[in-house]
């Protein structure tokens, strides 16, 4: 189905001198469009590596990622960039907003490359997200003038602005207090339901589990459990 992600026999090996370190071992996974997937596991279990491979930020040592029926392994550097531009939104643990740009400019950044959207549509989309994410009145502020929760909301808006099929979030709540973390997760859940965007995010915060429709637990680079939550 369009928007489904299939991971076949994915392994990722890092070399530290002569020592091989398996970050991921033989991962097989299928994620349907519109799912709200939480990847859990202790530090070093391979959560970030898995997200990076899904988002084509990293290349697996073995195996293949299939998206929309296309094998991404055969893609060139430019094709991978195009794939990311069209389909993926990223949310990072440390927000990664550009400090010299305002809230509005940060949200607008992914749209720079979008030639198919009219400037009116872009304006409306930014305005819509600013309102939905409770950022009204902060459009002209710089990241340094925002709280952690506000910064992460800007990052979410930036990830969603071009209506990607998948949003990948690597520990989006790790730098936030528990109250703000819950708020951010609620917003993500809401966006998942409204915009039917697939959300895949990693965390080791057990309080977030209750929002997930599907919980994948990793241990030592392998899938320990893959549970659908009713």
């Amino acid at each position: 189905m369009k928007g489904d992600i299939i991971l076949k026999n994915i392994s990722k090996v890092y070399h530290k001198g002569k020592i091989k370190i398996f970050a991921l071992k033989n991962i097989n996974l299928e994620i349907k469009k519109g799912e709200f997937v939480v990847i859990m596991g202790p530090s070093g279990s391979g959560k970030t590596t898995l997200l990076n491979i899904i988002g084509c930020l990293d290349i697996p040592t073995e195996g293949e990622v299939i998206f929309n029926g296309k094998v991404l392994k055969s893609f060139s550097e430019d094709q991978l960039a195009e794939y990311r531009r069209q389909n993926i939104g990223f949310i990072f643990q440390s927000f990664n907003l550009i400090p010299v740009l305002t809230v509005k400019e940060n949200i607008e950044l992914p749209l720079i490359l979008e030639k198919n959207f009219s400037s009116q549509y872009k304006e409306e989309r930014i305005k819509e997200l600013i309102e939905k994410l409770g950022l009204s009145g902060m459009e002209n502020r710089f990241p340094s003038e925002l709280s952690g929760g506000q910064e992460q909301r800007v990052a979410i808006a930036r990830a969603l602005v071009k209506k990607p099929i998948v949003v990948l979030a690597d520990e989006p709540t790790a730098n936030l207090d528990s109250q703000t973390a819950l708020e951010v997760i609620k917003i993500m859940k809401e966006m998942n339901e409204i915009e039917k965007t697939t959300f895949i995010f990693s965390t080791h915060d057990p309080k977030i589990e209750k929002f997930a429709k599907r919980i994948i637990t990793l241990k030592d680079g392998m899938i320990e459990s893959d549970i659908m939550v009713s």
Binding site: E82, R84, R85
Partner: protein, 402 residues
Amino acid sequence: MAVGFMSFVFFDSLFLGIDKMLVEQLMKLQDSSIVIYSKEYDEDKKSYPLDRPIKDINEILKISSSIKNIEALTPRTQFLCEVIYLGKSKHIIATVIEPKTDVQVFDLHKNLKEGKFLDDTSALEILVGSALAEELNIKVKDTITLSAYTKYKMLNALDFVVCGILETSVPLINESTVVINFKSAEKLLDLEGDVNSIHIKVPWNKRESISGYFNKVSKIAKQFKEGLSDDYKVYTFKDLYQEFMLLMKQKRISSFIIVFFILLISAVGIVNTMLMAVYERVKEIGIMMAMGFKPKQVRNLFLLEGLIIGLFGSALGAFLGLLSNLWLIYKGWNLEIMYGEKITGLKASQLGMPVWGVIYGEWNIYAFVFCFCFCILIAVISAYFPSRFASKLTVTDCLKFI
């Protein structure tokens, strides 16, 4: 970058100005713009013969009256002689001048250290170069003896009263020149109204370049060559100072290299700035690549930034260069005020300065064009390598970069 640009055009203008002043001084004190000798004299001019004069001065005067752009002309004759004073003596080259017209062509009268200049009527008066006067301990109003061969190869000697001491920026004049008028020369050398050379002054406008002036002088010299018979030899200042001009050309190359180093130093600054700009933003590059920017697009962004920095830097440099050149060309750099005897206690010749007084710069549009292109090129090149480095990083490496 802007400072490098400004320094380049400033020093280029200064060096050009100094070159122009050097040529100007040689012309104003020694040979003028155009010199005409008889053909026979020219064949043996190193021995300063007195029996090979210009046959018909009127022929030259007739042509000169039909040529525009000639300010004045004057006759001169040079001869070898011995100066004798209180038991000391020195062999030198003496110059015979016609004071009334000489001051219209040459600036000797402006270079008097003490005493007065010659006039046409007074006989047996003499001007002595300052270094020569010092060497022989000659002072104004002293009586010195000149010994020389006449036109008919007879040795003759006469006493002259020193009326003035000359101090110029040309060492040769200071060290081994005495000047007398034609009235005195008649008595010493039996010249019978002969002159060996005619010196012609072509006005040099303040803003005129060396090459522009040379073209003007060459055209006038050509008119003389065409109008005069084969009995004459016509030289321009460039012909006379061929070796000096060649030396000046080489000096221009070496001064260009020195000034070019200033630009290179500023180029290092630009490269450093661009490298810092890229390294500071590796994480941002990672974010942009994660959003779908292609490596080429990232590279182009940095090249664009380099180009903009280059354009702004060049524009600012051109403006600063223009200001510094305006000051140097119209106001001039007064060496006397900065390094004069009152400040340093040293004379110009002791400081080893080839020129003295107020140095004026020269416009050189090529220096501006060269700097403008060079600064932009350097900015783009220095943006290219770090941007290439940035575009080759993986997104995960960029995001991990602190």
